[in-house]
């Protein structure tokens, strides 16, 4: 187990280094932050002073080495725009994003898994057919449209939910549902299809032959096997949402880290972009690690080869 952990930690560090270096080189190739930062009226002399003050007058190699050295010391530099440490700007917005993602994934699993089971128990029954058409709808409505639609009804027409901000749980209802909508459909379809597959497998038939009651067969024998692909998709979705909630954060004016990162990208605020990339990469590495662990718990074969 210790060797497993060490290997994974080493791989994680290597991944982070590659990601940061790639992004560092890519963003420096895209443009000049001073051209966006400096007001139009600023003279050439003042621009040069500003460039030097931000260390952007140095050769790229020097900037890169300095940046890496800073990262190793836990210093990711300060934002060109706010003067605040770049990492803090991102980290103080992580909770909002995590709450949003956690809520929507939670809703998606709590609704999607039972729906999937329900649909699989009687394939082509009424519930199955209704759920299938609903899941097509769920997978095809774009986030921004659903968000605006919800705002129109629940903020303007009925005036029961706030259109923007992150002050209370009420503020999260619409954004979390907007994000969850697609995932409910996804989990429903996934659980349905994998469950249908496992219901025909030998161990399920054996259980039935032994006279185990149908709910126990489904929930204990079949579902456990069917959960494996779900865990993989759950991990992928979590990572995708964590780094992809930007449209929802923008529409509902939630102060999440993705909105901050998008602004930083527009303005070429390098330190903030890099801090964001580091956080997201670290998150992905952690999720993958947890997914691997969960595999071990659910599937004895993985555990023994680990």
């Amino acid at each position: 187990m210790l060797r497993f952990l060490l290997t994974r930690a080493w791989q994680a560090l290597f991944t982070l280094w590659v990601v940061v270096s790639l992004v560092f080189l890519l963003i420096h190739a895209t443009g000049d932050p001073i051209a966006v930062l400096a007001p139009e009226q600023m003279s050439a002399h003042s621009r040069a002073v500003l460039r030097a003050a931000l260390g952007l007058d140095r050769p790229l190699a020097v900037q890169y080495v300095r940046y890496l050295a800073g990262v190793l010391h836990g210093n990711l530099g300060v934002s060109y725009y706010s003067g605040q440490p770049a990492m803090r700007l991102i980290l103080e917005r992580v909770p909002v994003t995590l709450e949003l993602v956690g809520l929507s994934i939670g809703v998606a699993v709590l609704l999607g898994v039972p729906f999937g089971i329900w649909a699989a128990v009687r394939p082509d029954g009424v519930a199955d057919r209704v759920l299938r058409s609903l899941s097509v709808l769920g997978s095809s409505v774009p986030t921004f449209f659903l968000g605006i639609l919800l705002i129109y009804f629940f903020s303007v027409a009925f005036n029961v939910l706030p259109a923007s901000g992150a002050g209370s749980l009420r503020h999260y209802i619409m954004p979390a549902f907007t994000l969850a909508f697609f995932r409910i459909a996804l989990f429903t379809r996934l659980v349905r299809s994998t469950l249908l597959e496992t219901l025909n497998q030998n161990h399920v038939r054996t259980a039935r032959a032994k006279g185990v009651s149908e709910p126990v067969v489904i929930l204990k024998h079949a579902l456990r096997t069917a959960l494996l692909p779900l865990v993989t998709v759950f991990g992928l979705q979590f990572g995708q949402l964590f780094a992809g909630a930007v449209i929802t954060e923008t529409i509902f004016a939630l102060p999440g880290m993705n909105r901050m990162a998008l602004q930083a990208l527009y303005r070429l605020d390098y330190p903030v972009i890099l801090a964001y990339v580091l956080v997201v990469a670290a998150m992905f590495v952690t999720i993958n690690f947890l997914v691997d662990l969960a595999y071990g718990l659910l599937d004895p074969r993985v555990r023994h080869h680990g």
Partner: protein, 524 residues
């Protein structure tokens, strides 16, 4: 509102409606921290250090906490804030009379030393974005507690205007705790005290009891960012916020018909213009390789000017919330000439000019524009392409993000492009946008078109040393007439309007400088 929503509303008598919060049931607007006056912006302030960012939203948020030395009136004249009077003693010296009895929000009295050092900070801090306003200041002298003399390396007749960009900061405190700590908990002399904030998201403010000016109408104020236009509008119409800036032109009718809010708009200080390469004979980027640059011929420039129907842009794209530019400098500037009109829109005349210049069938050119910087920028570029096609000029629109556009523009990589200029004053605008390029003296540093008129430069040089307002304005107008009318250095299109939606309980009229200041808002 369509009738089906009305019916839904009528039918809504269930649990959902019980959840509804009625703001009226709480304390009066702006009287408690739970129910503050809320002003929503498209963006948010990136920093609360008042010299680090020259950008309207950031300045709006900061200037509820900080006073500037002067402020611009709706007519563009500098009027007293911290300075109550100013006098020009000699070409290189201004005297400021300061308001007595002003106190910082930490209880420390504001001194003449604070004002002097704030000006020097704005001029000298390497990261200061206010440098251009006070570039020529060399030092100051405190004559007595309310009198300050400021010394210059070059005459600055518009110093009182420039002081409207200079915030007064508690310099002793900044020296003690450092700029970063100061920006995290800013202290100024303004009407509101800092309570808490999240950069670019929201700023909570509370009226300050020791404020020297009129007591404010709203004790608790929250400034926040709602980036999405539809959400901002929804928040205004549902009563969640009181003021929403930058309402999209197509939504004006909805605001007016809602019965809960109104629209306020005023011509701003941003000129949208077309720039044309005025120096490369051939091989301009955006033209076919080896092709002659048609814009070198003044007749072509005038033809483009006359082929554009700005009135139509104003009506169709901006729903009348833009002002047709009769000249490059916007109405707020002292050089603005009310008597001027645009060259009339005339396709026939434009075709005649093109034929005379040797382009009877027009030519092909790329028009570069941003798609995320100015209100409806890429839409305007598309519309211009359509208009120019009528006189045979085939325009390929290249609308790109600002982060890509501006570096290319600064390198002079464009032949023909749409951009905006936020004006400070007619003199510095001339010296950076119109003056013959001179890297050594720092003239024409954003004159990417290499426009050059020595006659006009001479007029501006004379105006720059003139402290007689009437004489100076006459010189400025003469210079701009040469550039705008004779040479057509740029084609001015329109001035962007400053627009906001305001709830019924609040009195607020947009300012031409675009600042939204809670301390100037009133109750109705």
């Amino acid at each position: 509102m369509p009738s089906w929503t009305t019916r839904l509303l009528a039918a809504c008598g269930t649990a959902a409606c019980l959840l509804a919060q009625s703001p009226a049931a709480q304390a009066a607007l702006g009287d408690s921290a739970q129910h503050p006056l809320v002003v929503a912006f498209k963006g948010g302030a990136t920093t609360l250090d008042p010299i680090m960012r020259s950008e309207t939203t950031t300045e709006s948020w900061q200037r509820n906490i900080f006073d500037t030395v002067t402020i611009l009136s709706p007519q563009g004249k500098p009027v007293p804030r911290i300075a109550v009077a100013w006098k020009n003693l000699a070409p290189l010296s201004w005297q400021l009379t300061l308001r007595a009895g002003v106190t910082f929000q930490n209880g420390m009295p504001m001194t003449a030393e604070d004002v002097g050092r704030s000006i020097m900070d704005a001029a000298n801090n390497p990261k200061s974005q206010m440098r251009e306003f006070v570039n020529d200041v060399t030092g100051y002298k405190v004559v007595n507690p309310t009198t300050l003399e400021v010394a210059f390396s070059r005459p600055d007749p518009l110093f009182p205007v420039h002081l409207s960009a200079i915030p007064v900061m508690p310099e002793a405190l900044i020296k003690k705790e450092g700029r970063a700590a100061f920006a995290a908990h800013p202290i100024g002399t303004g009407a509101y005290r800092f309570v808490s904030w999240l950069a670019e998201d929201h700023l909570d403010l509370r009226a300050w009891k020791g404020y020297w000016g009129h007591p404010v109408a709203f004790k608790f104020v929250r400034l926040e960012s709602i980036p999405n236009g539809a959400t901002r509008l929804a928040a205004l119409l549902s009563g969640q916020i009181e003021v929403a800036e930058k309402i999209n032109p197509e939504d004006f009718a909805r605001v007016k018909n809602s019965g809960r809010a109104r629209i306020t708009s005023v011509p701003g200080t941003r000129t949208m213009y077309l720039a044309m390469d005025d120096w490369r004979e051939t091989g301009s980027p955006g033209m076919a390789a080896g092709e002659k640059n048609p814009f070198l011929d003044p007749r072509v420039r005038k033809a483009v000017y006359e082929a554009i129907d700005v009135g139509l842009l104003r009506e169709k794209i901006f729903n009348d919330a833009a002002t047709v530019a009769t000249q490059f400098m916007p109405p707020l500037m002292e050089s603005f000439d009310r008597g001027l009109k645009r060259f009339p829109y005339s396709l026939a005349d434009a075709r005649k000019l093109l034929a005379a210049a040797g382009y009877p069938h027009g030519f092909t050119v790329r028009l570069d524009a941003t798609n995320d910087r100015y209100l409806e920028d890429s839409l305007v570029a598309q519309a211009l392409a359509g208009m120019l096609q009528q006189v045979g000029i085939i325009v390929q629109v290249n609308a790109i993000p600002k982060a890509v556009f501006f570096p290319q523009m600064n390198r002079g990589d464009f032949t023909f492009y749409l951009a905006g200029w936020g004006s400070v004053d007619p003199l510095s605008t001339w010296n950076s946008m119109f003056h013959c390029r001179d890297a050594k003296l720092g003239f024409g540093h954003v004159n990417r078109e290499h426009y050059c008129s020595q006659a006009a430069d001479a007029l501006i040089a004379k105006a720059s040393g003139s402290f007689d307002d009437a004489a100076r304005v006459k010189l400025e107008r003469a210079a701009y007439a040469l550039a705008d009318r004779t040479d057509i250095a740029y084609i001015p299109l329109y001035f962007q309007d400053e627009i906001a939606g305001v709830a019924n309980g609040v009195v607020w009229n947009e300012r031409p400088d675009g600042l939204i200041l809670a301390w100037q808002m009133q109750r109705k």
